[in-house]
């Protein structure tokens, strides 16, 4: 897989931690805070593990706690994917 899209992330988030009740996940969420979307640290740990399994990108433990928005996740994953392996 060459690139992770916002739709990929949306799908992984829903699989790992469910949909938000108000459907806010369907809008433009790139720069929304995970906390405001209702995702806690466990949700992000589960999401990070799923990203590793699916995209082969390891997110270091200490980085997981720092990731605030979907854009930050996508940047981190896609930067790693762009590195020549």
């Amino acid at each position: 897989m060459s690139k992770m899209t916002i739709d990929d992330l949306r799908r992984v988030l829903i699989e790992c931690a469910g949909e938000t009740d108000d459907g806010s996940l369907s809008g433009d969420i790139q720069d929304q805070d995970f906390a405001s979307l209702g995702y806690d640290s466990l949700a992000l740990m589960e999401t990070a593990a799923r990203i590793t399994a699916e995209f082969g990108v390891q997110i270091p433990d200490e980085r997981i706690a720092e990731l605030r928005t979907p854009r930050e996740v996508l940047d981190l994953v896609n930067d790693a994917l762009a590195q020549p392996s």
């Binding site: 699989e15 790992c16 931690a17 589960e46 593990a49 590793t52």
Partner: protein, 421 residues
């Protein structure tokens, strides 16, 4: 006089009825929830009948956020708790957070969930294990999740005692109310109908090998040959009488009037099993004589020697054939920690409706059992007090006495309060 503890709300999911009234209709109509297990391909297994809850869509009842982190049993428990609290019509703010507790029982934890995580660990490696495994499996999960969902911060606990645990939860919740926490959500729910949970249940050696859903689990029948396991259970709202009165609770199902638990002597002992003593202690706790009990909801194991022992305990305590005995769980299968609370709900509805539900397909009760088993059809009968029994494998015995609560007299009256016998 000590405070009384009332049941003011019930949420119930059983294989023959999702929801309290649907369960009760099925129990009275003799509709069974037992059928071939369909969660996985059972064709390779020697035992295939289960009491399975089919018409339940968790996503229709719970927030999406809770689904990835919960086992089937926890979803049932959360929904039952929602329904019980809605039934009790407890308004936001009626109690402060520390005035509300949760006491649940659980026999097998979030077992299907944990089976999936074991499979992931051993087929895909440690990195594949879910973050939710750390709490979706353990036996306190339902207490914790219910506490969080409803902001209940009072004394809370989780108890395990195989099939007797559900009554122990109710008994401990009653103790918690009597010790000063005015409202406690309590009961038990179980489900272990994944392949591993299934073979684990088979290993108990007590499951019925019969293949006819109407003849597989026949408690107290001469043809009894084991039990059918099921899933589901009930959660109840227990309130102190004072709290129920002060918030003008619209509807009280009845009183949890007595509770006791005992343990059997070890195998080989010459001492008698403890079920009768549990019943006697619960009656004493309620201040009732055996003659004041109108119906017994039996543990009804379906294993012949255990049926015989229970029949002996009941006929010994009440006299041969002296009290109607029933086993509506013949239509749901044994629900482990859910079994006792579902029977307590049934006993409370017997009080409400003046009718005792029948005992599934049981027809031929050996005369030497000396019990009057309600079978074939429901029996209309004025019920004011009921005894509910449950036994857990390895020797657990628990008993609960429920009693009708007289309607509040309209004007203040003098010297007319019912005596405690």
């Amino acid at each position: 006089m000590t405070e009384k503890v009332y049941v003011t709300g019930i949420g119930l999911l059983a294989p023959n009825g999702v929801g309290l009234e649907r369960y009760w209709e099925a129990a009275l109509e003799g509709r069974t929830g037992i059928g071939t297990l369909t969660r996985f391909d059972v064709s390779g297994y020697p035992i295939r009948l289960a009491g399975q809850i089919d018409d339940f869509d968790a996503a229709g009842h719970l927030p999406s956020r809770l689904l990835p982190q919960t086992d089937a049993s926890t979803r049932f428990a959360l929904v039952a708790a929602d329904w019980a609290l809605a039934d009790a019509k407890i308004e936001q703010g009626a109690f402060a957070d520390y005035e509300m507790g949760v006491v649940t029982s659980n026999a097998s934890g979030g077992f299907e969930f944990t089976h999936r995580e074991f499979k992931k660990l051993w087929s895909q490696g440690p990195g594949s294990v879910s973050v939710y495994e750390s709490f979706a499996w353990f036996y306190a999960v339902n207490t914790g999740q219910i506490s969080i969902r409803h902001q209940l911060r009072g004394p809370s606990s989780a108890l395990v005692a195989e099939q007797a645990g559900g009554l122990d939860a109710l008994g401990h919740a009653r103790r918690t109310v009597l010790r000063g926490t005015p409202m406690v959500v309590t009961g038990g729910v179980d489900s272990a109908l994944d392949p591993w949970g299934w073979v684990a249940q088979i290993s108990s050696g007590r499951l019925s090998p019969a293949t006819d859903p109407h003849r597989a689990y026949l408690p107290f029948d001469a043809d009894a040959c084991g039990y059918v396991p099921g899933e589901g259970g009930a959660l109840l709202v227990l309130e102190s009488a004072g709290a129920a009165r002060s918030r003008a609770a619209q509807h009280v199902y009845g009183e949890i009037a007595g509770y006791a638990t005992t343990f059997d002597p070890p195998a080989g002992s010459s001492r008698p099993p403890g079920l009768r003593r549990a019943a006697e202690l619960a009656l004493a706790d309620a201040g009732l004589a055996p003659a004041e009990i109108d119906v017994v909801f039996a543990d009804a194991s379906g294993v012949r020697e255990l049926d015989r022992a229970e029949a002996a305990a009941i006929s010994g305590l009440f006299g041969p054939g002296a009290v109607p005995v029933t086993a509506p769980k013949a239509l749901t299968g044994r629900l482990y920690s859910g079994g006792g609370p579902v029977d307590v709900a049934g006993a409370l509805l017997s009080i409400r409706d003046g009718v005792i539900p029948p005992s599934g397909g049981t027809t031929d009760v050996p005369g030497e059992y000396g019990i009057d088993l309600v079978r074939g059809a429901p029996r209309p009968c004025r019920v004011r007090s009921a005894l509910v029994l449950a036994r857990g494998k390895w020797g657990f015995n628990s008993a609960i006495v429920v009693r009708a609560v007289p309607a509040e007299p309209a004007p203040p009256s003098v010297n007319t309060s019912p005596s405690r016998s």
